[in-house]
């Protein structure tokens, strides 16, 4: 059997499971229509789930972007004070965060692709379900139970195949979302522990040095500012004094 044959067999098997048949074919029609509506609800929830996961990744990306900027600032400060060793550490960490960011971007793109597929699948299923509903009403109104049995075959197989297809797309999207959740959870832990966002919380000696460096830098800047102010105030006074002599 070729690959196509295998896929055909497996999807048909899933399709048979998607819809049970009742004794009276007209009951089967109503029952299966309910099942179809349930699946549509599930797909819509699936789309929302994927969107939520995507949003979470986007929030994490924003936080990581902030820590890249912060590390960049620390590296600059360290260099200004001739501490190349510390600047190097800050830049190494920045690189690590940037790698995380890149992987988040890729994951976000994957989720976007899944979301797009589910949205299209939902539209297709909606059209099929609506077609089934119309067919179902016609059959129920026009045929006896025995006649209906013969009439529903194609509509029934057609819609259940679509349901199996959508079901497989849902499983795929759900498993992607699960994987993302696990990764996002790990990054959240890192963010909460401060390892990524804040290198100046005194986690280790290098963090403390970077912290001291930036406060020392701030003090130096303040001193310069004061000197400039005092200089500006004294200079004119000195000139007046010179003139008096």
């Amino acid at each position: 059997m070729g690959l196509m044959g295998r896929f055909t067999t497996i999807v048909k098997a899933k399709a048979n499971k998607a819809l049970d048949r009742a004794e009276d074919p007209r009951e089967t029609l109503d029952y299966s229509y309910e099942k179809q509506l349930e699946l549509l609800q599930k797909v819509r929830r699936g789309v929302a789930d994927v969107a939520t996961s995507k949003k979470r990744l986007e929030l994490q990306s924003a936080k990581l972007e902030q820590s890249v900027e912060k590390l960049d600032g620390q590296a600059r400060m360290a260099l200004q004070q001739s501490r190349e060793d510390l600047a190097r550490v800050a830049l190494e960490r920045k690189k690590g965060v940037q790698l995380q960011l890149q992987s988040l971007d890729e994951q976000r793109a994957q989720l976007q692709a899944e979301q797009d597929k589910l949205v299209v699948a939902e539209q297709r299923l909606t059209a099929k379900v609506e077609a089934f509903r119309t067919r179902k009403e016609t059959i129920k109104a026009q045929y006896t139970a025995a006649e209906a049995q013969a009439k529903i075959g194609e509509a029934f197989s057609g819609v259940s195949e679509e349901m199996a297809d959508v079901g497989m797309a849902m499983e795929r999207a759900e498993s992607k979302v699960e994987t993302m959740r696990a990764r996002a959870g790990a990054i959240d832990e890192l963010l909460e522990s401060g390892a990524l966002t804040d290198l100046t919380d005194g986690r280790d000696s290098i963090d403390r040095e970077l912290e001291q460096l930036s406060s020392a830098g701030a003090v130096d800047a303040e001193l310069d500012r004061l000197r400039a102010e005092i200089g500006a105030a004294e200079a004119p006074a000195g000139q007046i004094g010179d003139g008096d002599k």
Binding site: L3, T8, E161
Partner: protein, 92 residues
């Protein structure tokens, strides 16, 4: 003949095009048997191109069972195996 591409919808093909699809399907399976990822990707891509290029898309509101079902664009050999192994049709 009606062919469903999983996740992408159904297409109606004439017998001639369907025969071409069948021939390419043999190559897809050969690549799968040989663990040839690249060969699988290429052959499947070719197969899907024939379905979408020579077939006419079935309107979404038409209810017909398909004569054949194939995985969608970009499906890797690994993913195809996972999809099939759920029901134990392809070992490994």
């Amino acid at each position: 003949m009606i062919v469903r591409i999983l996740g992408e919808g159904q297409y109606r093909l004439d017998d001639e095009a369907f025969a071409v699809v069948h021939r390419i399907d043999d190559r897809v399976q050969t690549a799968a048997d040989a663990d040839d990822d690249e060969g699988f990707r290429q052959a499947l891509g070719e197969l899907l191109d024939v379905v979408t290029g020579r077939g006419a898309p079935l309107p979404a509101d038409e209810l017909h069972p398909s004569d054949a079902i194939v995985p969608g664009h970009g499906t890797t050999l690994q993913e195809a195996r996972e999809l099939l192994s759920q029901e134990g049709l392809i070992p490994g």
